[in-house]
Symmetry: C2
Subunit: 484 residues, 2 copies
Amino acid sequence: MEDQISKISDAANRMRISSIEQTAKANSGHPTGSCSAAEIVATLFFSEMRYSVKEPRHASADRFVLSKGHACPILYAAWEEAGLLTREQVLTLRKLNSDIEGHPTPRLSFIDVATGSLGQGLSCAAGMAYTGKYIDNASYRVYCLLGDSESAEGSVWEAAAFASYYKLDNLVTIVDVNRLGQSRVTMLGHDLFTYAKRFEAFGFNSIIVDGHDVADLLKGFDEARPTNSNYACTLKGKGIEGVEDKDNCHGKPVTLDKAEIIASKLENKTTKNLWELENLIDDAPEVDFEIGKVKMNSPPNYQIGEKVATRLAYGNALVNYCFGWKFLKNFSDVSNSTSSDKVLNKYPQQFVQCFIAEQNMVGVAVGMSCRERTIPPASTFAVFFTRAADQIRMEAISFANVKFAGSHTGVSIGEDGPSQMGLEDLALFRAVLIIKELLLLVLDVPTLLLFIQTEKFERKNKVIRQTNEDKYLLIGAGVTLMIF
Amino acid sequence: MEDQISKISDAANRMRISSIEQTAKANSGHPTGSCSAAEIVATLFFSEMRYSVKEPRHASADRFVLSKGHACPILYAAWEEAGLLTREQVLTLRKLNSDIEGHPTPRLSFIDVATGSLGQGLSCAAGMAYTGKYIDNASYRVYCLLGDSESAEGSVWEAAAFASYYKLDNLVTIVDVNRLGQSRVTMLGHDLFTYAKRFEAFGFNSIIVDGHDVADLLKGFDEARPTNSNYACTLKGKGIEGVEDKDNCHGKPVTLDKAEIIASKLENKTTKNLWELENLIDDAPEVDFEIGKVKMNSPPNYQIGEKVATRLAYGNALVNYCFGWKFLKNFSDVSNSTSSDKVLNKYPQQFVQCFIAEQNMVGVAVGMSCRERTIPPASTFAVFFTRAADQIRMEAISFANVKFAGSHTGVSIGEDGPSQMGLEDLALFRAVLIIKELLLLVLDVPTLLLFIQTEKFERKNKVIRQTNEDKYLLIGAGVTLMIF
């Protein structure tokens, strides 16, 4: 045990050195936030987690989400220590054409979701844990490392409420409380008791540990679940002389001599351990459908000229879409208005109620989709997708395969007033980079049916009315077509 | 006292009747969420709050924010009971051209901020309370009524953390825990203890009351501050026979005979009381500047061809902008990266640190600006404004005068990777309805100066290079101009 603790501590220091070198070579990046998390990540990777170095995306492998994405040098260093990456590779940090980016993205084999925009990791991790517990029924666990600054983001608390509501006892959250934010001391500083109290109020078990003490960390991870959470008291820039626990060092590389001082303190100076990792438990099921080939069960039997309430058409379409897809899940918080409760009624096992928390709904969907085991449609009023604008942006960077289904678009919701009107969401979705397949269902079915449902839409325009005497070209979409 | 309680209870029932009639006449709207809050609002309006019926926006009047905006019929009914509106006026609910809209907007004299998109009210209320305590140094209080469903929104917890961090003991929060969300039971149902525990963990005092018992409500409001919070156990549709505490009645009007049943139970059948309201304490100072005429102290002394870091130019501009404006406040969470810490250093009393919680930052700014006593610039990385997309949209509907200053736009932040890149924010801001003055500072100052700073920008295009041999027209903005 003593030997194990010393081995992990040395690994943490080697990862520290690597982080310093990566950022020094890049002349940018975040060595200090990496160093505060060195022991946490080393303990996770070399004692706690069950994964395959050769196959990081193995369906049964534990997942790790680095929510504090700017600390990615320590993550790259962990995979270097584990033997997946070389020092040469991690030293390409922040170089053009390198996948070792300044913030993690799934361009790397060991990363499931892009992070960097803070406060989103826990929702994604909760989505993964939900998938593990309720869809895969597998024993893999999900670890999420948060920074203390980012716990000021409300989306963290949306995710915490979701995790405890669904009793995700396969989710382990660690908050790296290093006291210092980007520009100054965080709201709570080193007040770990208040962090613990807040997470406890949201249904977590809380264990406070010394985040630089490997023995304490090991004990913390062993302690009670479900929905375990560790609050690790750490020092920003831990180990870096003249920088440790100092303000105004966020995002600033340090000189290489700082790495040498850390190296001189190593007990085990060998550059790499041969780790005997605990084997993963291979119990995640095979996926029984082909991603990317989702088709409706049958097209709805509407007739041109018929009047159909958009919300009903929407519910019908969702039910058709969900038909028969064992792994397909649907999300909603306004389900009786959007008629997505039709899915709840017909396929209750395919419905995840996310309540009124859109940021988390999208984050959970991203987490659920990231291993290509589900294709979740996220469903709410179109206008409320703007609440999750940043999560949707990160969904695209994550190459996730989430279907966004927004109801009540445009001016059709007049009586409720402008706060309920979906208009700006169109600009949002148009601006998001479409990496894989970002399908926007903006309810192109107007109350009065203008198209035959079997027509194929090519993502181009369609001419609805045209005469030889036309003088003006009117362009519309969704419900604005009603003006014709 | 007995008489007072009975008078308020009767007022609550008259307001209930009015809510039923408003929504029945409109054939849409939310009588059930209104009825659950009837005693809460009646107690606030006819015992607790200090305001002027004739001048609802009086600088020294207590503020009331109905965060659960869909319950506006009960708010309109309160102002009807107070004598500002007539029954005829409130019966124009949801009619075209009526200001009695389906969700509250400042088109009405007694509403400061638009609500309806849930979870935003507490941030706005916190901004008002901050203004009252730290800028006006006045004794008015801010009351915010939340629904229980909306407390699943993370922005509520961002606001709670802000309120306790700044010790806003002039803010009173009430959560109407009526158990039922739009489509089903909320995450916590009637578990008021967990609500209390959560708010307590975020620094609030918690008092659980029976939300239909006026005596209990009066006692609750009298109890300890600072940062008081009441959790009122209520029944959705309270008083409406066959609807009370029943699922699936959200947003559904009921027939008028339900109003008659309530009327038959009234002790005091007179249609209106003459209320002797507690006078407001007229101690809010005069505003000593003209809104809408903010100018920089002096333009920066840059030369064409000179290289200036955008973050430095940004900080310089903010300092100039803030010069001498007693009531001006600046917000930031990445202040050392954006150089807005220059404001902190030079005008510390004009700097409100909002930490990493963009939704709350914008909400607070809206709350601060709504009585035209401050012109807050909200400042962060441009990309992180997408986190607050819905708050920005509601800012426009609120006619607020917030200046959004986003740094690190476009592809200039390449080494940090796509999660930090401001691109989609342009689409967001372009799509938001500009009601008053929504100024987007997207850092048009490139590293290499191309314009003279004294040139006037007309919100049109500017031709940078042109020759007689030109074959192509290139259009760019912000840092993309660097490609020229």
